[in-house]
Amino acid sequence: MIVFEDVSFKYAQNTEENSLVKYSMHIKKGECVLVCGPSGCGKSTVIRMVNGLIPHYYEGKMTGNVKINGKTVADEELYDMAKLVGTVFQNPRTQFFNVDTTSELVFGCENMGLKKEEILSRLDSVADKAAVHKLMDRNIFKLSGGEKQKIACASVMTSGPDIIVLDEPSSNLDYSAIVDLERMIEMWKNEGKTILIAEHRLAYCMKYADKVIIMNHGKKLKELGKEEFCRFSDDELHEMGLRSLKNTDSRRMSIYSDTRNKMVMNNLRFGYDKKNKILDFDKIEIPAGEIVALVGANGVGKTTFLRCLCGMEKRCKAVLQYGMKHYNAKQRMKLMYLVMQDVNHQLFAEDVLDEVLISMADENEEKAMEILKMLDLEEVAQRHPVSLSGGQKQRVAVASAIAAEREILLFDEPTSGLDYGHMIQVAKLLKGLKEFGKTVIVVTHDAELIENCCTAVINLEALKNVNNK
């Protein structure tokens, strides 16, 4: 069904390294295969070769042969590949072509030029199977991450391909949305679809995977059956740059900090419209000087909480009591710094050094270089911030927060879509900030990150329930 023969590939922009080196694999019809490995190991490249984006969209130098159903991908047009292979991507924000859900569901069929009646009947049956009735005819921009991913899966189904590939589909999902995704995979498996998943989070794939391929540096390290793979201990997995096989629900974790040093948010009430209050708390205590994890299901208001806390939502009238002082929204803005989930929004300047300089009250190049050195960014000081890797960008944002002398740093999902090694890097960064005397508050679903570095956990859902009683 899917055959790779000695495939090598080098992206046109990347002059140094091959993204794939003499890679071979055979996937039979109806198999479910998991491809894993640290970031940059080439698993996304494999996915892109199956759906034809390589070589038809991403340019580069390719040798070897990729065949799907006996057809050579390089000789087929992308729109012909679309009938054979359906793809679910990582980022729910960027994989939709339409503004409303129903148009999105039928988009693939419309492109194939199927008959209207045929499309409508497919739409009906998919809506039943994928349980997306409630989501039809809605504005995609107003759906949650989990709902968006559901639509993405369902719209792959309407096109009815035999092969479905998924490129890190769970990166932005919480625990319950991942359970939904797992169900989707189960259904495909039962229908006899061939499934190829590239993932960091392994736990949810394990139930239905027949085979696991571990990659590194563009090469296949191991190809194992499921039983064999499950025998690996966590430590062994970590050594290969892989995440744990346990699927821990971060909401069940609890770590109590015994510090007496606390900051208190009083009268925290906020909603985006008048009717629905997302946040409604008399007071929330947050331990100071710790690394505090903020957990809770998607939609419970974690990000909103961060936005109110750092003073970005001006309509939120809550007052923070910190040390001996009281801070209103405007004053909090100068006390805190939020590292956003999409850190690209926070990078403005033309090089990294400049980025740090513009945050300083008085521009001081020496001090700026010191900060960069501390965060291991010295070598890239002259690079354009946008051209850096994800982790480096995050550190640049942190550097500008330190330069602006903020005391409290907030992180929104800093490890979504990160492999083990990069997750540990983030954990180290957070620990370093704590030692530096900063308070760190981090919104996360990542149980491993919490285990590794957090010194306190606040469960927003539980707090909400207590408050409601």
Partner: protein, 196 residues
């Protein structure tokens, strides 16, 4: 792949046109907010060409085939139509777009200088927005004949015909300035950021 196929616009090109037109239109709408105060309306022929040069020059890095610039102008004009600026921009825009396309084509779609000139030509579309307002003041003001001869003459004086060639030149000149601005930012940011 044969030559013919490579010269035909494919899905990727069409999507690119849509994306850059969207960015361009957002900039235009932001600028048009200023134009809400009607006295500033003539200023639009300065502001839009000036800032439009930024996305335009970035867009040109993706243009390799005939028709992309032309389609972009048509899209922008359709947006103008939808926001109530009438059908006239569509006509002027078509020729401005065609002109810009030919200028850039003459540089085999890679000459940066021709790109800047091409933006100057492209910017003429802005003129379309004024046409209906200025073209026949006589007939329009005739509807208010009872309002007094003096008023009509004064208004005619305020929107005289010579304003057209002036605006035309202004659009082109600032279009070229905007092209240079776009080129500078291309070098300063977009190349380094890896998107150009």
């Amino acid at each position: 792949m044969n030559l013919n196929k490579e010269n035909k616009l494919n899905g990727k090109d069409l999507i690119n046109i849509g994306i850059y037109s969207a960015i361009y239109c957002v900039l235009v709408f932001v600028a048009a907010m200023l134009g809400c105060i009607p006295i500033f309306m003539p200023l639009l022929s300065v502001i839009i060409p000036l800032f439009g040069g930024i996305p335009y020059m970035l867009f040109l890095t993706k243009v390799k085939k005939f028709g992309m610039i032309l389609i972009m102008t048509i899209l922008i004009e359709i947006m103008m139509l939808l926001t109530g600026m009438g059908y006239f921009p569509l006509l002027i825009g078509f020729f401005a777009g065609l002109g810009a396309e030919l200028v850039y084509k003459s540089g085999k779609y890679q000459n940066l200088f021709k790109g800047i000139i091409s933006h100057g030509v492209f910017s003429i579309w802005v003129l379309g927005n004024y046409v209906l307002l200025c073209l026949n003041p006589d007939s329009y003001f005739a509807t208010r004949q009872n309002l007094g001869e003096e008023y009509i003459n004064a208004l005619k004086g305020y929107t005289p015909m010579w304003i057209f060639p002036v605006l035309l030149v202004v659009c082109m000149v600032f279009g070229i300035v905007g092209g240079y601005l776009g080129k500078a930012l291309l070098k300063k940011h977009f190349r380094k950021a890896g998107i150009a």
